[in-house]
Amino acid sequence: MQKIHKILIGIAFSPNLKPNLFEAIRIANMFNAELIGVHVGEKTAQKEADLNQVISEADRLHVPLKTIWQQGKPVAVILKTAAVENVDLLILGALQKENLLKYYVGSIARKITRKVGCSILLLIKPSIERQACKHIVVNGLKDKNTAETIRTSVLFCTHLLCKKMTIVEEISQSELQVQVDDDKSLRRATIAKERLKNREDQRINTILKGIPCDHITIKTQSIFGRRGYSIGHYAKVKRADLLIMNAPRKLGLLDRIFPHDIEYILSELPTDVLIVK
C-alpha cells in the first residue's frame, strides 16, 4: 500500500498563501508526514517573516516544516525538488475563473501535473477553517493502475476521516454495441447495459476484496459516457469533496488539442482532485 511520508507545497506570496498553507499543514498532520515548502525566488527577510507569521497561526506541525528557497524557473525547480526530495505528494492550488464558479489549473501547474513523478493534489478552495471531507469519488476505469488508485483512495479516506466513497465505472457508449431506435432495440440496450454494469461491478469488487475497508461505505456507480468527462460531471453533481483519478498514461500534443480524460478535468475542476501516480 502507498504511504505518504513527504508532502511538497509550492509557496507563492499571494493572498492565497494562508489558506494554501493551512490546508497543507492539516493534510500533513493527518498523514503524519513531513511538509516541504519550496519557494521559487529570492529569499528575503520580509518573506521569511511573513511565512513565519502564517505558520505561527496554523496548527502545530507534527514534523517540522522544511523550507527550500531556490531561484529559477518555477516548473523546473518544483519538478527537480520533487525528484530530489523523493516526495510522495505535491499540493497545488487551482485558479478561479473571473466571476464564475469555475476552477481550472493554471499553465504552470498544468505543466507540472503532466511531468511530475509523484501524486498531485489540486485544491480548488483551500480554506483556513477545516472543511470535513464527506464524500470521495474514485475512478474505476478498466486500467492496470486502477487497483493502486483504489488502494490509495482507501488510504486517503482513512486519514481524512471520510466515511463515504463511490467508485465510478465509466463505460463508453461504443462498448454497448446496441443503438436505440425503437422499443425492441431499447429493450436490448437496457439488458446489455445491465450486463455491462454487473461485469464492471464484479471487477471492482474483486479489487476491493484485497483491501481492508470495512470502516468506509463503498458504493459503485456505472456511467455510460465519455471517459474522464462524465466522472467530473458526476463528482460535481454529487458535490463530492475529493475526486481521485488515475494518472494519464502519456499525453501527447494531440491530447491537448482534442482534450480527453484528465484534460477535461484539468480545464474545469469539479472539486479537489487527486491524481495518483
Binding site: 425503437d182 459516457g225 460531471h233 477535461y264
Partner: protein, 732 residues
C-alpha cells in the same frame, strides 16, 4: 401479460386496417392530385408518390401507423425547382426536378444509414415553425387564385398575395361563365373544408372532407350530363388532366443538369423539407398511436428515401410521412403498417376504375383543399402561440418566414438559425459560453435506485440538443426520469419544447419525466424567459369572470347539490385510460361539478396533430365506482356499427333482451363478465332512458352524449341519468 402470436394479431387486425386504409385513400386521392397540381407537376405524379410510398414504406419502414405520400411542405420547393430548372418549359422542368427527387432520395437513404435522418433536431424550433408557415403562405397565395377559377396568376409569393383582392373583384365581376362556376365550386369546397369538423355527425364524417368535395363536384358534372340540357359550364382547361393510359406512360427523370448550382440547391431543399416534414409527422403520430409504440425514425427515413428514388424514376413526387392522412388513419383504428399498404392498393384501384370520373374534378375544388391546408399551416393561432413563448421567438419566426417567402427556403432556415444563435448570445451577453462548450459532452446520465438521473452542464440549446436526446432516448418510457438543468447557464426554447414532449410521452406510457433546476432565474436579469421557463402544464386562467353558461351551471349546481368550480385544476387520473381518449389528447378540464364519486366536467381535447389537429370541447360525466367493473363500451346501434361488424367487430348479444340488442351496440373483451354485469334492472334502466355513449374501465364509468359542450339542461339530464346509473351499478 399473455403473449400473443404476432402473426395471429396481424391477421386479426387486417379488417380494421383495410377499412382504415380505405378511408385514408379517400383523402389521399384528392390530396395527391391537388398537391401535384400545386407543385406544377402533372396530377398523376402525386398519386404515384402515394402509391409507391404506401407500398415501399409499409414493407420497409420503421414506424407503425404513419401514412406516406406527397407532402404539403414540398409544394413550394418543387414548384420553385420546376420553374427555375425548366426556364420557361414546365414539362422539361418537371423532368429535371424528377432527377433532383431521385438524388434527394439517395441522400435520405445515406442520412438514414448515418443515423442522421432526424435533420429537424438540429434546427431551432421557432425557425422550423416559421419555415412551415412560409410554406403555408406559399401554398395559400398560389392556390387561392386557382380556387377563384383563375389559372393565370403569376409572380412571386408576395406579388400573388397582393393580387388576392384584385382576384376576388375579378371573380365577382367576371362575365366568363366557366371561370365563375369553377370559382363557385372552389368556394363551396372551401366551406366544406372549414365546416366539416364542426358537423359532428358520424355518417357525414364517415367520408373525409376532401372526398366530399370530389363526390359533390363529380356529382355536379353528372347532374349536368344526365338531367339538364345545358352543357357543363366549366371548361376542360379548368378540369383535371389525367393521361389516357394512366399507368402506361411514366415520365423519366432527366439528369442533364445534375452539376448545376440550381439543381444542387433544389436537391438540398427537397431533402431538407422531406426530412423535417417526415420527422415532425412521425413524432406527432407516435403521440397518437394507441399502442404507444416508438417509431424507428432512421429506418423510416431510409424507407422514405428508397420510396422517393423509385417514385422519382416513375415520374412521381417525393415521398414523405404526412400528418393529416396519418391522423385519419389512427382515428379509423389503423393499427399497423398494412393500413398504409392498403391505402396504396385502393389508390391503384381508384385510378384504374374511376379515371373518367376523376377527369371531371374542377381544379378549383382541389385548390380549395390546398387553400385550407395552407391556411392551417400559417394560421394566426400559430403566430400567437409562438408569441406566447416569448417575443424573441416571434422575431425568429417572422424573420425566417419573411426570408423564406421572399428568397428561398434554404436561405430562410439559415437566417432562422443565425438569428436564433445571435439572440442566444445577446440574452446571455456571452458568446464564449457557446463557442467553448459546443463540442464538449455536456450530458451525464446514470441510474440510481431504479431512477434515471440526467444532468446537463454549461448550456443546452438546439446546437447541442442531439447529445441530450441520444441519452434521453435510452430511457424506457415506463421508468422514472429526472432531468437536471441546474448546472446549465442557459436552456433554449427548442430544448424546453422537446422536454415537454418527452414529459407527455412518459406520462402516456406510464412513466414519469421531470425537469428540475430551472426554478431560479438569475437575479437582475430581465430576460423574457420562455427559454428557461418551467414547463407549462395547463394553461388555464386561474381567475376570471364567469360566463353566462357558467353562471347557470353554478345555479343548477346549487339546486342539485353539486359543488362547482369553474377554473378547476382537477385532474382525473383515470381519464386517459378510457378507450375514447386512446387516440385523443386531453388538453384541460374546466367547469367541474362534483358530488360523491361523480364528476361532470367540460373537457377540451384534440384529435390529430399539427395541421390535422381539431380541438374539440365536450361535456362528460365520470363516475368512480366502488365495485370492479368489466371493461366495455356501449353505444347506439346504427349504420356505423354495421360497418364495424363488417370490419370484424363484434356486438355482444344479451340473451332474452332482443330490443336492447337491437338498439344498443355493446362491445368489450370479456364477454362472460359483461353478460353477467348487464342485469335485467340495468338493461331496463338503459332502455327507458336517452341513449348515451357509455364506457367503462375497471374502476370508472364515462358517459357522454354528443361530442360538444352540453347546454345547462343537458347537464341536468346527464346528471340525473348518471346518478340513476350509479345507484343501479352500486347494487350489482
Amino acid at each position: 401479460m399473455l403473449k400473443k402470436n404476432p402473426f395471429k394479431t396481424f391477421l386479426g387486425e387486417i379488417p380494421q386496417n383495410l377499412f382504415s386504409g380505405f378511408v385514408v385513400s379517400l383523402i389521399a386521392l384528392p390530396l395527391g392530385l391537388g398537391l401535384a397540381l400545386a407543385s406544377g407537376a402533372p396530377p398523376i405524379s402525386g398519386i404515384i408518390a402515394a402509391i409507391v410510398g404506401g407500398i415501399v414504406v409499409s414493407l420497409l419502414g420503421g414506424s407503425k401507423v404513419t401514412i406516406t405520400g406527397p407532402g404539403n411542405g414540398l409544394v413550394v420547393v418543387i414548384l420553385s425547382a420546376i420553374t427555375i430548372l425548366g426556364e420557361g418549359n414546365a414539362y422539361q422542368g418537371y423532368l429535371f426536378t424528377l432527377a433532383a427527387i431521385v438524388i434527394s432520395g439517395i441522400l435520405l437513404i445515406i442520412l438514414g444509414f448515418l443515423r442522421m435522418g432526424a435533420l429537424g433536431d438540429f434546427f431551432p424550433s421557432s425557425a422550423i415553425q416559421g419555415m412551415l408557415a412560409a410554406i403555408g403562405i406559399g401554398i395559400f397565395a398560389k392556390q387561392i387564385h386557382v380556387m377563384f377559377g383563375n389559372l393565370n396568376a403569376k409572380g412571386s409569393i408576395i406579388e400573388l398575395l397582393i393580387q388576392i383582392p384584385e382576384g376576388i373583384i375579378h371573380f365577382v365581376s367576371t362575365s366568363e361563365k366557366s371561370a365563375f362556376y369553377a370559382g363557385l365550386i372552389g368556394i363551396i369546397s372551401l366551406l366544406i373544408m372549414v365546416f366539416y369538423s364542426k358537423i359532428r355527425n358520424r355518417y357525414f364524417q364517415l367520408i373525409p372532407a376532401p372526398m366530399w368535395i370530389v363526390v359533390l363536384s363529380v356529382g355536379l358534372y353528372y347532374y349536368f350530363e344526365l338531367f339538364t340540357t345545358a352543357a357543363y359550364p366549366i371548361d376542360t382547361s379548368l378540369l383535371i388532366d389525367l393521361p389516357n393510359d394512366v399507368f402506361g406512360s411514366f415520365a423519366f427523370p432527366d439528369f442533364g443538369k445534375i452539376y448545376e448550382l440550381e439543381f444542387i440547391g433544389a436537391v438540398i431543399s427537397i431533402t431538407l423539407i422531406a426530412s423535417i416534414e417526415s420527422l415532425l409527422s412521425i413524432k406527432a403520430v407516435d403521440k397518437l398511436d394507441p399502442l404507444k409504440r416508438r417509431s424507428n425514425i432512421n429506418k423510416d427515413i431510409r424507407a422514405l428515401g428508397l420510396a422517393t428514388v423509385i417514385s422519382g424514376f416513375l415520374g412521381g413526387l417525393n415521398v414523405v410521412t404526412v400528418i393529416a392522412r396519418s391522423s385519419v388513419n389512427v382515428n379509423n383504428k389503423g393499427s399497423n403498417r398494412s393500413a398504409n399498404f392498403f391505402h396504396a392498393l385502393f389508390l391503384v384501384a381508384f385510378i384504374l376504375l374511376f379515371a373518367t370520373e376523376l377527369r371531371k374534378i374542377p381544379l378549383a375544388a382541389l385548390a380549395a383543399i390546398l387553400v385550407f391546408t395552407g391556411y392551417k399551416l400559417a394560421a394566426p393561432e400559430n403566430i400567437k402561440k409562438v408569441f406566447k413563448i416569448g417575443s424573441e421567438q416571434l422575431l425568429i419566426f417572422i424573420a425566417t418566414l419573411l426570408v423564406t417567402i421572399s428568397t428561398s427556403l434554404i436561405l430562410g432556415i439559415l437566417v432562422g438559425i443565425i438569428i436564433t444563435f445571435v439572440i442566444h448570445v445577446i440574452i446571455n451577453k456571452n458568446g464564449v459560453l457557446f463557442f467553448k462548450n459546443i463540442l464538449k459532452p455536456n450530458v451525464l446520465m446514470f441510474t440510481e435506485e431504479g431512477k434515471y438521473y440526467v444532468s446537463v452542464k454549461n448550456f443546452s440549446s438546439f446546437l447541442n440538443y442531439t447529445k441530450l436526446k441520444s441519452k434521453l432516448d435510452q430511457i424506457p418510457e415506463t421508468k422514472e426520469a429526472i432531468v437536471d438543468f441546474s448546472l446549465c447557464d442557459f436552456v433554449d426554447h427548442s430544448v424546453m419544447e422537446n422536454m415537454n414532449n418527452y414529459s407527455e410521452t412518459f406520462e402516456r406510457k406510464g412513466g414519469h419525466f421531470e425537469v428540475i433546476g430551472l426554478d431560479d432565474a438569475k437575479p437582475g436579469s430581465a430576460h423574457p424567459f420562455a427559454l428557461r421557463k418551467i414547463l407549462p402544464k395547463q394553461m388555464s386562467p386561474k381567475e376570471g369572470v364567469l360566463t353566462k353558461r357558467q353562471k347557470y351551471i353554478q345555479k343548477i349546481s346549487e339546486e342539485m347539490q353539486y359543488s362547482y368550480d369553474a377554473f378547476s385544476d382537477l385532474k382525473i387520473e383515470e381519464l386517459p385510460s378510457f378507450g375514447y381518449f386512446k387516440t385523443r389528447k386531453l388538453d384541460k378540464i374546466s367547469n367541474v361539478l362534483t358530488k360523491n364519486d361523480c364528476t361532470i366536467f367540460d373537457v377540451q381535447f384534440s384529435e390529430g396533430e399539427m395541421i390535422a389537429k381539431q380541438v374539440i370541447k365536450a361535456t362528460m360525466f365520470h363516475i368512480q365506482t366502488q365495485n370492479k367493473l368489466p371493461k366495455f363500451t356501449l353505444d347506439k346501434e346504427g349504420v356505423f356499427e354495421y360497418l364495424l361488424h363488417f370490419a370484424g367487430y363484434k356486438d355482444i348479444e344479451i340473451n332474452a333482451h332482443p330490443d336492447f340488442n337491437k338498439r344498443f351496440y355493446l362491445s368489450g373483451k370479456n364477454e362472460e363478465k359483461i353478460r353477467a354485469f348487464f342485469t335485467d334492472e340495468l338493461i331496463l334502466f338503459l332502455e327507458s332512458n336517452k341513449q348515451y355513449h357509455i364506457e367503462a374501465t375497471n374502476t370508472g364509468l364515462l358517459i357522454l352524449s354528443k361530442e360538444r359542450l352540453a347546454s345547462v339542461n343537458e347537464i341536468k339530464a346527464l346528471a340525473y341519468f348518471g346518478a340513476g346509473l350509479q345507484k343501479i351499478i352500486e347494487k350489482c
